[in-house]
Structures are given as structure tokens and as C-alpha cells.
């Protein structure tokens, strides 16, 4: 038993890490296919039936590509920037509850790596480290477009983090806990998904999530049409792939957080309604994945639909709309929490 | 190709037929600025005024501001090269009035390296057009704010639209070592 005590988390980490990386590569395929569908074309079709092997081909291509470091780049920073971008995105998965507890080989196994009592804050703080990858990439490239892009990206990340954190505090106040698992359980005990309690928080958090992950309409930092690709203009090969993985891993993190906080995580819909109990037959982690998928789809959908904001407009939306709304929401939540 | 052995010495610029009424803006111009317009011609529906180079700006200002003319758009500035002639270039301006919807062409004749007063102060749109004429024909414009080459590289030698500039360009010299050829200009 004690020998298994340290083995289990290792196995879990291994599974989650691999699952995330595979999910990320297939997220790219999903995005291409969904956008293609929205634009009345087919998307990748050549590699495998309907292009299902395309991500593997892409990965092989990126691995085999020559890894170029610009001559006047700061080589050391140039190398660690993608790592500093990818690592936070991956270790954020440590506290995400993919499910409750499951019985595997007669043992009670939690379907999350760690249930930290500051789980939500952990995610916020870890993702705030990701900004270094972007700034350093722009600086280390020693090139003007990446520098502009990285300044844009970091200003954007920092300003939207404020609104996001405040929205998270609203949810924390509602749930009365910081632990991700406990938040899901609070939704079970309160008989309601928090999306119905905190709808404003969901909207602000999702918009902020779009901005944090540099997605349309907030993808200024990698706006190909303006900045020729943004902070990773000078990157190629595997180091470019790391930025790519980080972006999509962050999308999955945002979807997972939104699912956990607002849509009951691994819980089936209306878990306390008697006649809907049959939904409980579908395992919790399936519900979690389905809910995540819906949000990932929304990410892609938005990309296919909206144009891009301009830098100053983006800042205005962040500071003059989202943060006041977040403050007001937090205020109202706190008052209701005390009085009700 | 089919280039004539004896190049023509200039456009015909035929006078208007006697039975055609002259547009309303020409005679006020002639009375306001006597002997600025040296010749009025008409061909397939286009009216052309040939103007003395030193009076060009006066004529243009008049055409821009006079009520009956009000040519507010300078559509085109270009030149034609007639090498046998002493004043070898025709610089022609295509003007249009958005109010009266009429056109006129104004031409001045200048010799090689003789400057033409720039009309950019009258129509800002002439800026790039005059730069192109400078680039292609080597006609300098007096008072132009930014007279640089526009289509050809800054180091280019010669002016390609002149009739004595070969179609093939500088030929073998450029092809063998383009950088040497481009640099020649700066050497003594």
C-alpha cells in the first residue's frame, strides 16, 4: 500500500500528460475541421480517412524540421522562452478534476492528480507565469515585430487576468472553497450548477479566457496580418511547436476550468432530479469531456465568426467593461452571501 | 521592332474645326492671362491647351479656382518624348472637374533638364504623378516637396521612358554585375 502511495500520482501524471498532449494535437484537427465546415470546405483530407492522421503528420513534420535560431537572438532566452510558455500550461492540469473517484482494480482511485485546498488560485498563479514565455520570446528574437507582439500580449494578459481573478473570487464566495473538487461537490449539494447562480461571471470569465489564450477576437499578439505572426515569428520546428501546444493546452485549461466552476464538472445534468438518474450511468469523466468539448467548439466557432479587435479597443474592453462588471458582480455576490 | 527610322518631331495638335464651339472656360482664361495659352487644339473629342512653361502655375491656379472651369481633380500627369524637337518633352496634365464634368488637357513643352513648375501646391494628387515623370523622363519639377525616384530603384541610372533608352535596359553591363552598374553613379 505504501509502495503504491507514490506510484499512483506518477501514473496519473503520465496519463494526464499524454492525454493532454494528444488532445492538443487533435484539438488542432478539430479546429481545422470545424472552421472548414463553417467555411464550406473540407479541411485536411489527405492523411488518413478524412484527415484523422493529420496531427501525427504535423507532429512528425515539426519534429524533423530544422530548428533555426536567428543570428542576433539571445540564444539562451530564445531556448527557454517556449519552455516557460509550455510548462505552466501543462502543470495547470494537476488540479483539474476530470472525475470523482473511480474503482479500478478494487481500489478507490481519484480521477485527479491533486486536490489542493488552494486549487483555483493555483491555476490562476500558474497561468500568470505563462506570460514570461511570450515576453521573452519577443525579446529574445531581437526583431521588431515579435517585440511589438510580445508587448501587446503581455499587456493583454495582465489586464485580463484582473477581471478573471475577480470573477473567480465571485465563484469562490459562492462555493465557499478554493478546492476544485470541493467546488464541484458544492454544486451537487446546492442542487444547481453555478452557471445559473453566476451567469455574469461565466460570460466575463469566458471572454477573459479568450483573451488569455490569445484567441480571436483577441488574437492581436499573433495577428498574422499585422505583425506577421506575432511573438513566435522567428521560431521554427519543435520550439515553435511548444508555443503551439501551449496555446491549445491553455484553451483546454480554460474549458476545463469553466466546466468545473459553472457546469458541474464531472456531474451529469441535474444529478439530484430523480427521474434523470439514468444519466448517472454515463461515467463522470465522460460528462466532463463532453462539456469541455462544447467549450472548445465555442472557441473555434468564435474564431470562424468574428474579426479582430484593435489593441486600444481590447484594452478598453478589458479595463472599462470587464473589470467594472467583475467588481459589481463580486460586490453583489458578497452582499447576497452575507444576507442570504 | 516596328520603330520608324525617322522619329516624328511632335504631335500634330490640330486646331479645332471652325464650326465647333470652344468650351466656356477657355476664353475667360485667355482674357485673364493673355498670351499664357499659346495654342488650343482639338482631336477626337479632347480639348488641349498648350501653355508657356513659365505661366503654367498661373494657368493651373486659374483653372482650379475659376467658377466656369473649377478643375478640382488632376487625374494624370505624364510626358511624351519627341527627341528631334528642341523642347523635347511634352508634359501633359489631364484635368477633370467634378462639378461641371468636363475635361481638358494642358501641355507644356520643355527642353532636356529644363524644370517645370510643380503643380502639387494646386493639386496634392500631382505629387506621385510628377515623381513618376521625373523617374521615367528625368524632367525636374520646381517646388516639388519630395522629388525622388518612385518606380525605379534609387540608384538607377538613366530614365527608362525616354525614346533613346533601349527597351532591353542597360544590357549586358547590368546583367553581368548589377551591383557594379548601380554603383557607377556614385563614382567620380
Amino acid at each position: 500500500m505504501t509502495s503504491m502511495g507514490w506510484l499512483l500520482p506518477l501514473v496519473q501524471i503520465l496519463i494526464v500528460l499524454n492525454a493532454v498532449l494528444i488532445a492538443v494535437t487533435y484539438m488542432v484537427l478539430l479546429e481545422r475541421k470545424v472552421i472548414a465546415w463553417a467555411q464550406s470546405r473540407l479541411g485536411p483530407m489527405r492523411v488518413g480517412p478524412h484527415g484523422v492522421l493529420q496531427p501525427i503528420a504535423d507532429a512528425i513534420k515539426l519534429l524533423l524540421k530544422e530548428d533555426i535560431t536567428p543570428a542576433r537572438a539571445d540564444k539562451w532566452l530564445f531556448t527557454i522562452a517556449p519552455i516557460m510558455s509550455l510548462v505552466p500550461a501543462l502543470i495547470a492540469f494537476a488540479v483539474i478534476p476530470f472525475g470523482g473517484h473511480a474503482r479500478i482494480f478494487g481500489r478507490d482511485v481519484p480521477l485527479f492528480i491533486a486536490d489542493v485546498n488552494v486549487g483555483l488560485l493555483y491555476i490562476v498563479s500558474i497561468t500568470s507565469i505563462g506570460v514570461y514565455g511570450i515576453i521573452l520570446a519577443g525579446y529574445a528574437s531581437n526583431s521588431k515585430y515579435p517585440l511589438l507582439a510580445s508587448l501587446r500580449a503581455s499587456a493583454q494578459l495582465i489586464s485580463y487576468e484582473v477581471a478573471i481573478t475577480m470573477m473567480l473570487v465571485s465563484v469562490i464566495v459562492t462555493a465557499g472553497t478554493l478546492s476544485m473538487v470541493a467546488i464541484v461537490e458544492a454544486q451537487l449539494h446546492n442542487h444547481v450548477w453555478f452557471v445559473f447562480v453566476q451567469p455574469v461571471a461565466l460570460v466575463v470569465l469566458f471572454i477573459g479566457g479568450l483573451a488569455e489564450t490569445n484567441r480571436t477576437p483577441f488574437d492581436l499578439a499573433e495577428a498574422e496580418q499585422e505583425l506577421t505572426g506575432g511573438f513566435h515569428t522567428e521560431y521554427s520546428g519543435m520550439r515553435f511547436a511548444m508555443f503551439f501546444l501551449a496555446e491549445y493546452a491553455n484553451m483546454i485549461v480554460v474549458s476545463a476550468v469553466v466546466t468545473t466552476l459553472f457546469f458541474g464538472g464531472w456531474l451529469p445534468p441535474f444529478p439530484n432530479v430523480g427521474w434523470l438518474a439514468f444519466l448517472g450511468w454515463i461515467p463522470g469523466w465522460m460528462w466532463f469531456l463532453v462539456k469541455c468539448f462544447v467549450f472548445l467548439y465555442v472557441f473555434v466557432w468564435i474564431r470562424a465568426t468574428l474579426p479582430r479587435y484593435r489593441y486600444d479597443q481590447l484594452m478598453r474592453v478589458g479595463w472599462k467593461v470587464l473589470i467594472p462588471v467583475a467588481l459589481a458582480n463580486l460586490f453583489v455576490t458578497a452582499i447576497l452571501k452575507v444576507w442570504l | 521592332m516596328g520603330v520608324n527610322p525617322a522619329p516624328p518631331a511632335g504631335p500634330p495638335d490640330p486646331p479645332p474645326p471652325a464650326d465647333l464651339s470652344v468650351p466656356g472656360f477657355i476664353s475667360p482664361l485667355q482674357s485673364a492671362l493673355p498670351d499664357a495659352v499659346t495654342q488650343v487644339s482639338y482631336w477626337v473629342g479632347d480639348w488641349t491647351m498648350i501653355v508657356a512653361t513659365n505661366r503654367l502655375l498661373d494657368v493651373m491656379r486659374h483653372l482650379r479656382t475659376a467658377q466656369e472651369a473649377s478643375f478640382d481633380a488632376c487625374c494624370d500627369v505624364t510626358a511624351t518624348d519627341w527627341p528631334p524637337r528642341a523642347e523635347r518633352f511634352d508634359v501633359s496634365y489631364a484635368l477633370f472637374s467634378t462639378r461641371h464634368r468636363h475635361r481638358v488637357r494642358v501641355k507644356v513643352r520643355v527642353a532636356d533638364s529644363q524644370a517645370v513648375p510643380s503643380v502639387t501646391s494646386v493639386w496634392p494628387s500631382a505629387n506621385w504623378l510628377e515623381r513618376e515623370v521625373f523617374d521615367m523622363f528625368g524632367i525636374p519639377f520646381d517646388g516639388h516637396p519630395d522629388l525622388r525616384r518612385i518606380l525605379m530603384p534609387d540608384e538607377w541610372q538613366g530614365h527608362p521612358q525616354r525614346k533613346d533608352y533601349p527597351l532591353e535596359g542597360p544590357g549586358e553591363m547590368l546583367l553581368e554585375n548589377p551591383m557594379d552598374w548601380l554603383r557607377l553613379r556614385y563614382e567620380p
Binding site: 532566452l77 485546498n117 488552494v118 500568470s128 514570461y132 515576453i135 521573452l136 517585440l147 508587448l151 503581455s154 | -
Partner: protein
């Protein structure tokens, strides 16, 4: 045993990164090492059972304050490197001496105190699950409420001051 390994490993990281911060030639490199240093310190906090402080360390220090440093380093595109200028009044040797004197003194005090018989090892108290954040919050809003408010006023004043400084004087 586990704690010893963690402690010595982290101590090595913290001091190593600290040395890199003050010796790195480029200011950007310094900033990167400072971040790594802070992350290692955050892990020490976790080992010491202060999870909330660890998260705040990462969120505010590494994710906020140091980003600000990085911004400034990148913005001031230095035309003359500060190290190029030499000040004859500067006494580098004296500086090193003073610093090592401080280190020796502090270490001596600590070692002396620790080897004194009254010293007791850290009581083995397992961190209370979910309690740390709550305890800190409770103290902040009861016993230290006035200090908390003063700190928030200080931040507000700093914000106003920073905006005034950063604005170009026309």
C-alpha cells in the same frame, strides 16, 4: 529525510539563482533568474505549510511585479550600458566586505542561537487541510484590519504616483 532533501535542493536553487540575479550581465537574464528564484521560494513556502502565501508569491510576485520589471527592462532600450560608466568614488571592495560582514554576523547569530540549549526543533505540525487560507484571511480581516486597510491605501497611492511618473511631462 524527505524534507532535508527538499530543503537542501531548494536552498541550492534559491542561492544559485540569487547569485545569477546579481551577476548576470544582461538585465533581462537577471529578471528571468529572479522569477526562477521566486518560484523556488514559493516551493519553500509550500514545504513550510504556507500554501496561500506560496500562491500569492507566484501570482503577485512572479506573475505581476517581476513582469513589470521585465517590461521596464525591455522598454528602456539602453543606449549606454550602465556598467560602461565608471565612477571613481565607487568602492566595490568595501561593498563586498560589508556584505560578507552582514552575512557572517547574521549567520553567527543564528548558529549561536541554534546551538544554544534552549533551541527547540520545529514542532512537527501537519498543515491543516483547507485551514491555512482561512486562517490567514481570518487574521487579515480581524486583528490586522487596520494594517490591511493601510496597505490598500499604500497601493492606491503607489498607483497614482506611478501614473504621474510615467506620464510624459508636456
Amino acid at each position: 529525510m524527505l524534507e532535508a532533501i527538499a530543503f537542501y535542493g531548494l536552498a541550492a536553487l534559491i542561492l544559485g539563482f540569487g547569485v545569477m540575479v546579481i551577476t548576470a550581465r544582461s538585465a533581462v537574464h537577471s529578471v528571468v533568474f529572479l522569477v526562477l528564484n521566486f518560484l523556488a521560494v514559493a516551493v519553500v513556502y509550500v514545504v513550510l505549510g504556507a500554501e496561500f502565501l506560496a500562491v500569492i508569491q507566484v501570482l503577485v510576485y512572479a506573475g505581476g511585479i517581476v513582469v513589470l520589471y521585465l517590461f521596464v527592462v525591455m522598454l528602456v532600450n539602453q543606449k549606454r550600458t550602465p556598467e560602461a560608466h565608471h565612477d571613481p568614488h565607487r568602492k566595490t571592495g568595501l561593498g563586498i566586505m560589508l556584505a560578507s560582514a552582514v552575512l557572517a554576523e547574521v549567520t553567527a547569530i543564528v548558529v549561536y542561537t541554534a546551538s544554544a540549549p534552549s533551541a527547540s526543533p520545529i514542532p512537527v505540525s501537519s498543515p491543516v487541510v483547507g485551514g491555512n487560507t482561512e486562517q490567514v484571511g481570518w487574521l487579515l480581516y480581524t486583528d490586522y484590519l487596520i494594517a490591511f486597510e493601510v496597505a490598500s491605501m499604500l497601493l492606491l497611492a503607489a498607483m497614482v504616483g506611478a501614473i504621474l511618473f510615467a506620464r510624459r511631462m508636456d
